[in-house]
């Protein structure tokens, strides 16, 4: 095969591999990022930077299933509302946020600490491809830059710098996510936090942020409410949330029937429980557990999740 005699064009490749360099002086350079005191002079971009409001979701790489679900759900709802979710492509909360956003209707953006040619962590190659297909992978690091520890804090200022606000989900004390939140505050951006269990050490950092004035987040509306510009997004989010939840529930007081109540009482709204655990805890036959679960499910008190796993329904 002959070598390409021409110098590198500014756009190389096609499809999700199309890459470009955006300079600080370019009109396409993200306006919010330009406002911070040390904006990167140029950004390497794979994909396309969507010109819409962005919110960052950050958190621990060793997140709990609860944290991942919360990040996933919030990201999906933000994306459905037309907001770009920004995160750092790391394991745990970052990946859950990107994946949630991909399920919604708006592209997502991953800010990398490495060069565009070094996806880190390597097992997120497919995820990165998915992100770049509709949104963008961006970095200020040149090709070949390795995932060295020093690169991450520098990268974090871009995550917060791009965003109207930063949502922290599970961040240990002195973690990178917490640093991102502090930077966001310094840059004049909103800081949010999804609370966790008081027994969870990964929740301590976030809870401290709340004590210091970060806004506690339960639903996507809690985020969107802070931005007058996002009123239309809020309306969309509201409509979407209601469309998604086909099953309405009757209050939180549980069913009247004592047999059904006994099962409902053992379930919670967050952590699903397996059929077998219920059978053992209640000392019931499997067939009786099945009967009660179906009746609870059909009257909207619980949700069957992946076969034999159930949790309480909520609106």
């Amino acid at each position: 095969m002959a070598e390409d005699p021409l110098p590198d064009p500014p756009h190389k490749g096609e499809g999700d591999r199309r890459e470009s360099t955006v300079w600080l002086t370019d009109p396409t350079y993200p306006w919010l990022l330009k406002q911070i005191h040390d904006p990167p002079p140029r950004l390497f971009v794979r994909g396309r930077l969507p010109p819409v409001p962005m919110i960052a979701i950050v958190g621990s790489r060793r997140a709990t299933p609860y944290g991942c679900r919360a990040a996933h759900r919030l990201a999906r709802d933000l994306s459905d509302a037309g907001v770009v979710v920004v995160s750092g492509l790391a394991r745990g909360i970052d990946a859950a946020a990107h994946r949630g956003a991909l399920e919604g209707g708006t592209p997502t953006v991953a800010v990398m600490a490495t060069g565009l040619d070094r996806i880190y962590p390597p097992e997120h190659g497919e995820l990165a491809t998915g992100i770049a297909a509709s949104g963008a992978l961006i970095t200020e690091a040149e090709e070949g830059t390795l995932p060295l520890p020093g690169r991450f804090p520098v990268r974090n200022r871009i995550i917060s710098g791009l965003s109207l606000g930063v949502v922290v989900v599970e961040a240990a004390e002195r973690s990178g996510a917490l640093i991102t939140a502090r930077m966001a505050a310094e840059q004049g951006r909103e800081v949010f936090c999804v609370p966790g269990s008081i027994e969870n050490p990964l929740a301590i950092g976030g809870h401290r942020l709340i004590k210091d004035g970060a806004k506690l987040v339960q639903t996507v509306e809690d985020v969107l409410d802070e931005f007058a510009d996002l009123a239309h997004a809020r309306a969309r989010a509201h409509a979407r949330t209601h469309a998604r939840t086909r099953t309405r529930t009757r209050a939180d007081s549980g069913p009247q029937d004592p047999e059904l109540f006994a099962v409902w009482e053992l379930l919670d709204w967050v952590e699903p429980r397996h059929h077998d655990d219920l059978a053992v805890m209640m000392n019931l036959d499997s067939k009786e557990v099945s009967r009660r679960l179906t009746l609870l499910e059909m009257s909207g008190y619980i949700i069957g999740d992946c076969g034999a796993v159930t949790r309480r329904a909520r609106d």
Binding site: A96, D276, S286, S290, T294, D305, C306, G307
Partner: protein, 502 residues
């Protein structure tokens, strides 16, 4: 000088009569066999000649011609050796063999008689044709006796026949062989040995009672294989007729252990996911070749990691799942192989394995999960009435809390009773797992409460018509296990927990 000896072979799963003629004529010494495939012919010629010489006989130093009839029948295997030797030796002695005796067996070079495949099927066929005396390898005596009331004589060595042939001395029936019947080594797991997992065990019971196909979804190490292996042990034992069928199949494909008699436990087969369609469901060619589906006939076919099987292999399961048998194309026409089994399929919930795991977070995208499930195609999914999620092993404290688990015999009793109710309703079958929509309307009438529940479920869960049929079939079996003629609300409620889910 001419002598004839009867023997047989199997064609697919059927016994076929083969007649061996040996002619000894003056001329240059030589040994020719007509009517066998090229390679088989070459091998049989060498084996038989050396075995005869090593057994106290002398191979005739003249022109020996052996013919195997019918000529057009494709003959495979080595089971003709004993008959060829009998014909040659007796032609040389200028002695006639009785026309109602059959000689089955392969010869080793030292003259020892080795067991062959298909003894049961061959014996049954020859018995119908009027054969009244069977000489078979000792290891096949028990099997042959299943098929005939005529004397079956066990032959260990060609040498043992010398006096019988030369002086007419009687060969006593091999008493030893009858005492030697061995039961195949049991690979079965007792349900009591499976810790915890009450939901999956109950699904196994329902599967056994109504002959429903079952899908176990769970991460690796959740014990899916152990559960599947427990299924044959809670199925009703085989009837005499079924046992003969199953034993004959095992014998024809070479799965019957030497010395084994009637197999009474339903078979269990677990093919690996790299298997070809032909090896899975069987194939044609000169003779029909039974596959795993036929080996699992009247028993359990376990397909672990079913999404990893070749797509064409999964597609080929369609006909046996629908009809309980398989038509295979052959050079001329087609043959039908039996294949009525309970399918136990096992799969991971998603590519990462964590979907539905309360303790872990599944990282797969909905598209990835959807693509993964789509590997199990519609026609097969439609035949799987029961689906259960098997959790990663439960915590130690939950296991300790469990009362002593029921053993297989207890569960099997309930299964047998539920089967009896099905036979009473439909003496000609099918069992609940194979009821058609029309049959369901008759057999699975709902009372008012269960009707309301099923309609609510169909609406809320957006169940398709086929999915509703699956729920009805399962509810029918649950009612049978509960000794109820009518399906009640609790039966429908339980059945809904075994539905396919995302």
């Amino acid at each position: 000088m001419l002598a004839r000896a009867l023997c047989g072979t199997v064609f697919g799963l059927d016994g076929v009569r083969v007649e061996v003629e040996a002619d000894i004529a003056d001329g240059l010494p030589g040994f020719h066999i007509v009517g066998l495939g090229d390679r088989a012919l070459q091998e049989a010629r060498e084996r038989v000649k050396i075995a005869i010489n090593n057994s106290g006989f002398e191979f005739p130093g003249r022109r020996v011609t052996v013919n195997l009839a019918p000529a057009q029948l494709p003959k495979e295997g080595t089971g003709f050796d004993l008959a060829i030797a009998a014909a040659v030796v007796n032609a040389a002695l200028d002695r006639r063999l009785p026309s109602d005796a059959a000689w089955l067996g392969e010869l080793a070079l030292d003259g020892a008689v080795r067991p062959i495949r298909g003894t049961l099927a061959i014996t049954a066929h020859l018995d119908r044709l009027g054969v009244r005396r069977f000489y078979v390898p000792s290891a096949n005596v028990a099997e042959a006796r299943i098929a005939t009331a005529a004397p079956v004589l066990g032959v260990d060595h060609l040498r043992d026949l010398k006096a019988h042939w030369e002086d007419g001395a009687p060969l006593t029936e091999a008493a030893r062989a009858a005492a030697d019947v061995v039961s195949p080594v049991s690979i079965l797991i007792d349900l009591a040995d499976v810790r915890g997992q009450p939901h999956a065990k109950r699904a196994l019971e329902v599967a056994a009672a109504g002959a429903h196909h079952l899908l176990l979804v769970g991460p690796p190490g959740a014990g899916k294989t152990l559960l599947a292996r427990a299924l044959p042990g809670i199925l009703p034992g085989l009837t005499q007729q079924e046992a003969v069928e199953v034993t004959s199949i095992a014998s024809c494909v070479g799965m019957l252990p030497p010395g084994a008699g009637l197999l009474e436990v339903p078979p269990f087969r677990a093919p690996h996911h790299t298997i070809s369609p032909a090896a899975l469901v069987g194939g044609g060619g000169a003779a029909p070749r039974p596959g795993e589906v036929t080996r699992a006939h009247r028993g359990v076919l376990f397909m672990d990691e079913i999404t990893e099987f070749r797509r064409d292999a999964l597609e080929s399961l369609r006909q046996p799942l629908e009809e309980g048998k398989l038509a295979v194309a052959r050079t001329r026409g087609h043959a039908v192989l039996p294949g009525r089994f309970i399918l136990v399929a096992a799969a991971n919930p998603c590519p990462c394995g964590f979907a539905g795991d309360p303790k872990r977070f599944c990282e797969c995208t909905p598209l990835e999960r959807q693509r993964y499930r789509a590997r199990l195609s519609g026609p097969i999914r439609d035949r799987i009435d029961l689906q259960v999620t098997v959790p990663r092993q439960a915590a130690g404290e939950l296991l300790r809390a469990e009362v002593v688990a029921e053993n297989s015999a207890t569960v099997r009793d309930r299964v047998i009773q539920a089967r009896a109710r099905q036979h009473a309703r439909r003496p000609q079958g099918p069992l609940n797992g194979a009821l058609s929509g029309t049959q369901l309307r008759k057999d699975a009438a709902l009372d008012a409460n269960s009707q309301v529940l099923l309609e609510t479920a169909a609406d809320r869960l957006q169940l398709s018509g086929r999915a509703v049929h699956r729920v009805l079939r399962v509810a029918r079996t649950i009612a049978d296990l509960d000794h109820r003629p009518q399906i009640e609300q609790s039966h429908v409620a339980e059945a809904l927990q075994y539905r396919e889910s995302g």
